[in-house]
């Protein structure tokens, strides 16, 4: 036995595990209808491969995975596909989602299936593909497709395999009973996993409140060739959290935002190990699992081996539900489970527990009182966060600060809310803050996209502008040349004049239009801003929609403004080009005039014959030049 480390915090809620361990695992009765959700795992929902009306056999593929992170689904028993469509599913949102509805025929007729002969001789990729074909997803927590975790060997060096048998949530005993009754299957599954991952060390982490399970495991481990350690950890919630268990067993912390494989560790749940065993040795896909049905509102709390898709109602009935006593139906444990509003919700691959709680057992939380900063929440947080600070930030919508205080490392274990003397539903605040931040980020991304699009457009417009400019310059040069030879024909002159006037004339109305458009956009934006501010102040619904409109308008207004400015600049540039000519001309003319006057004055003062004659010729030249300039000036100045 190696050293067991500790993690910060944790709580000791009443265990309530005895109720459901009095009888062995029972086979749940075959329900009339099975509802098999297409999405039972993290990743993309599976794609149905059967049609309504088809008869399917037990173990037959009914939906295939889509993409790498997805899992296939199989018929849990023989029967007829009745429909494929929305049905209540076990999800925190309470929304419906697509399910395959299977009407069972009671024959439980298997499709032909067989295990792999000797998996140790197979290529790992073939073995993993077989496991993938059997639709195995993690059965302890979020339901991550198992084959993906087994592939990790390629990109990561795995040195430690951790089998999670902690089962720290109160009430749940599914893994406990599985270990007591099927320890050999678990070991067989561990062998397969270790064959694939080749870890140097395997640890089974189990809480010390399961002595019988520990015993059973020890018994099958005797003489086992693998390097397996059973590590008994103190009973404390949430020691079964993946990251907490890793810390308990190895003293290592998984860096924030990384996965355990990044530090050479892979975790698998005991249920998953069993499922792998059945898949490899018997070719059975994952079509059933062990579910604890417990709570004060059932007369016979116990564990059932239930088919995936079995409605909760059937299991509750099998455990003798007292209808009148039922107050809240929880799926999962009392600390992290979600309440369901509907008893037709089916068992899925990750359903480990159903608690039919009475009012006294899980009463409504007392009303929220002011936080007294008692710090009890910090004492119990397994992630060493400051739950109280996160609460103030979430409540005050200071999301940046919440994120800076590592809000996203919160595992929503509920330990802080459990101890809070002021009955503040802390986890709800964190969920709210997280979803707000995610929405904000999505919007930010959208806005960034829009900005990029806008900038690209802007660049294109500028390019076009530059090309136009070049064209106009060429035209202007031509016009200048034409001016040189303007004495040739008056017609040519007229032509060139209309040429240079044309673009200016066509630009004018354009500019005006653009200006109006920009003003209109500005007004619209202002109105939307006011509406948004108003809605925000009053906390009205539909804020998100408003925000989206606002971003949209902001962008439009900016575009209009930019377009107007660009046009204005273009015109100014055009005008400037023309202006420079005119100005230069004026200056030249004035200088010529001045030169003439100067010469005239000098002429009157000079006595020398030779100098006078020279001056006179100079004066004639100067007069000529001045006249020419004046002529051209009068031609070019606007009438």
């Amino acid at each position: 036995m190696g050293k067991v480390f500790a993690f910060h915090g944790g709580v000791h809620p009443p265990e309530n595990k005895k109720q459901s361990t009095r009888t062995p695992i029972a086979q749940a009765p075959l329900p009339k209808m099975l509802y098999i959700p297409l999405q039972q795992h993290i990743g993309i929902a599976a794609n149905p491969v059967v049609n309504v009306g088809d008869r399917v056999l037990k173990g037959q593929l009914i939906a295939e995975p889509v993409g790498r992170i997805s899992a296939s689904l199989h018929a849990p028993t023989s029967g007829i596909v009745r429909s494929i469509g929305p049905h209540p599913v076990p999800h925190a949102s309470g929304l419906e989602s697509d399910c395959i509805t299977l009407e069972t025929d009671g024959q439980d007729e298997w499709i032909e299936h067989q295990g792999l002969q000797d998996y140790t001789r197979l290529e790992p990729s073939v073995l993993i593909e077989h496991i993938r074909q059997c639709g195995i997803a993690g059965m302890g927590g979020a339901g991550f497709p198992t084959d993906v975790k087994l592939h990790l060997g390629d990109d990561h060096i795995v040195n430690t395999l951790i089998i999670n048998a902690a089962e720290c949530e109160p009430y749940i005993t599914a893994d406990d009973m599985l270990m007591r009754e099927r320890a050999a299957d678990i070991l067989s599954g561990i062998r397969i996993i270790s064959h694939l991952l080749r870890p140097s060390h395997i640890m089974i982490g189990i809480e010390d409140n399961k002595p019988q399970a520990i015993h059973a495991l020890e018994a099958v481990l005797k003489g086992c060739e693998l390097n397996i350690d059973i590590r008994v950890v103190p009973t404390k919630y949430p020691s079964g959290g993946e990251r907490q268990l890793i810390q308990l067993l190895t003293g290592l912390e998984v860096p924030s935002g990384r996965i355990p494989a990044d530090i050479g560790i892979v975790c698998q749940n005991v249920g998953t190990a069993t499922a792998i065993h059945r898949a490899v040795h018997f070719g059975e896909p994952l079509i059933s699992r062990i579910v604890t049905v417990t709570g004060d509102a059932v007369a016979k709390p116990q564990n059932f081996e239930a088919l995936i898709g079995t409605p909760f109602a059937d299991l509750l009935e099998a455990a003798n539900l007292y209808e009148g006593r039922l107050f809240r139906l929880v799926m999962g444990g009392p600390m992290m489970g979600v309440t369901v509003a509907h008893d037709q919700i089916p068992v899925i691959k990750t359903t480990n527990c159903i608690i039919a709680a009475s009012d006294e057992e899980m009463p409504q939380a007392p009303p929220e009182q002011p936080c007294i900063r008692c710090n009890m929440c910090e004492q119990v947080c397994p992630v060493t966060l400051l739950p109280q600070q996160l609460y103030w930030f979430s409540k005050g919508r200071e999301f940046d600060k919440a994120r800076n205080h590592n809000l996203f490392d919160c595992i929503e274990c509920g330990a802080c809310a459990y101890v809070c003397p002021s009955s503040i539903p802390l986890v709800q605040y964190y969920r709210f803050a997280k979803s707000e931040i995610r929405t904000e980020e999505a919007e930010q991304r959208k806005a960034d996209h829009a900005r990029q699009r806008f900038e690209a457009r802007q660049a294109r417009l500028e390019r076009e502008q530059a090309e136009k400019e070049a064209r106009r310059k060429a035209r202007a040069e031509e016009a200048a040349r034409a001016q040189q030879s303007r004495k040739n024909t008056e017609a040519e002159k007229a032509q060139s004049a209309s040429d240079s006037a044309a673009p200016a004339a066509s630009a004018a109305p354009d500019l005006k239009q653009l200006k109006t458009a920009a003003a209109v956009a500005r007004t619209k934006l202002k109105k939307a801003r006011d509406a948004f501010k108003n809605a925000e102040d009053k906390g009205l619904d539909g804020i998100d929609a408003l925000r989206a409109t606002l971003t949209d308008l902001e962008q439009k207004s900016e575009e209009a403004e930019q377009a107007f400015k660009a046009a204005e600049q273009a015109e100014a540039a055009a005008a400037a080009e023309k202006g420079v000519d005119l100005k230069q001309l004026k200056i030249d003319a004035a200088m010529a005039r001045a030169a003439v006057t100067k010469l005239e004055r000098a002429l009157t003062k000079t006595e020398d014959e030779q100098a006078r004659r020279e001056m006179e010729t100079e004066l004639v030249e100067a007069r000529k030049k001045s006249d020419a300039l004046n002529q051209s000036l009068s031609e070019h100045s606007p009438a």
């Binding site: 608690i355 939380a365 966060l385 400051l386």
Partner: protein, 351 residues
């Protein structure tokens, strides 16, 4: 079938603010008992009087603020504040002083800032500091412990005490029951060395035992609170350690002019402050590390104010000063979270 949908967790520890407050009151009993035994009925009368006033003020202001009156009165926080103030002021303090004190604590110190959980300062200490500044004479006239009265176990009778508090009592009688505290004696020893002051002062040579006993009683209550996990060790232990360290240093260096560490720990409001005042969750730093810094700073400030300051006991001012610094301490004492290499300091920037 329609069932309610609720957020996790679905179970809660049987634990409430009112419960926490009740435990604090329970933990104060030994201290109150010791004070009554050694200093007479004054403490008990003050507690009852302050408690009634606190409930009254709290109810009125809750009503004015349109809050559910009973719901909040039930949390017991007003009574705890009143009790802390009542044990901090001299047992013979006149009734109107308590009234002013409770008013300041509940109305100004707590509700003006938004009520329970929002006050940046410890309300009882705000009131205490204000009384000390406004009525220095009354606030420093402590009942002399009975051991000083020479002829055995005599404390002022209950009715006389009541009269002394609620009506202007006969001055002569009153004077014979009041005296300075050990901290006063040490500070106002003139040119005497500590040793000489000790020998000459009746308070120090005879009455000190009573103060030790009261301190021990507060300590007991504090241990109870630690045991019941109402408070954590961080602030009290670091405060006591800091005070011990400072006083040892100065005492070791110059024993003639400085009091010994044991004297600092066992007189005045040291123990009361360590376990009942600086552990007030609302106005202290929040993280564990923060509370260590918070407590240690108070310990140092207490030593400084007691030794070189002008007031008999530094506790109230030390606490208020650090209350002011608590938010700042919080920013720099974020703990290192799981999976992060370093603790974050400060709040700026994006994570």
């Amino acid at each position: 079938m329609s069932l309610i949908r609720l957020s996790s967790p679905h179970v809660y520890k049987a634990n409430s603010t009112a419960n926490v407050m009740r435990l604090v009151m329970l933990a104060m009993l030994p201290g109150i008992l010791a004070m009554t035994v050694f200093f007479g009925w004054g403490t008990v009368i003050q507690i009852i009087w302050a408690g009634l006033l606190a409930l009254g003020f709290e109810a009125v202001i809750l009503k004015l603020r349109k809050r559910p009156v009973l719901f909040h009165l039930n949390d017991g926080s007003a009574i705890v504040t009143a009790m802390l103030l009542a044990v901090a002021i001299p047992p013979f303090a006149p009734w109107w002083m308590t009234l002013v004190g409770v008013f300041v604590a509940i109305v100004l110190g707590k509700h003006l800032y938004g009520g329970l959980g929002q006050n940046p300062f410890n309300p009882a200490m705000v009131a205490y500091a204000l009384l000390l500044i406004s009525f220095p004479v009354e606030m420093t006239r402590w009942t002399a412990p009975f051991v000083l009265n020479g002829d055995g176990w005599q404390i002022a009778p209950f009715l006389d005490t009541l009269k002394a508090i609620f009506a202007a009592a006969d001055n002569l009688w009153y004077d014979s029951f009041t005296g300075a505290t050990p901290l006063d004696e040490i500070r106002h020893r003139g040119g005497l060395t500590t040793e000489e002051a000790w020998r000459q002062s009746t308070v120090l040579s005879q009455g000190i035992g009573a103060w030790h006993a009261v301190s021990a009683a507060w300590l007991m209550g504090g241990i109870f609170l630690l045991y019941r996990k109402v408070i954590t060790w961080h602030a009290p232990i670091s405060m006591l350690l800091a005070l011990t360290l400072c006083s040892s240093m100065f005492f070791g260096f110059d024993p003639d002019n400085y009091a010994d560490p044991f004297f600092h720990l066992s007189t005045g409001a040291t123990m009361l402050a360590a376990f009942f005042i600086i552990t007030d969750p609302v106005s202290s730093a929040t993280s564990n590390r923060g509370r260590i810094v918070f407590g240690a700073s108070i310990g140092i400030l207490i030593f400084i104010i007691r030794t070189w300051g002008n007031y008999p006991d530094g506790v109230a001012f030390a606490v208020l000063l650090m209350n002011l610094a608590a938010p700042f301490i919080d920013i720099y004492t974020q703990p290192r979270s799981y999976g992060h290499n370093r603790a974050k300091k400060g709040q700026g920037g994006k994570a």
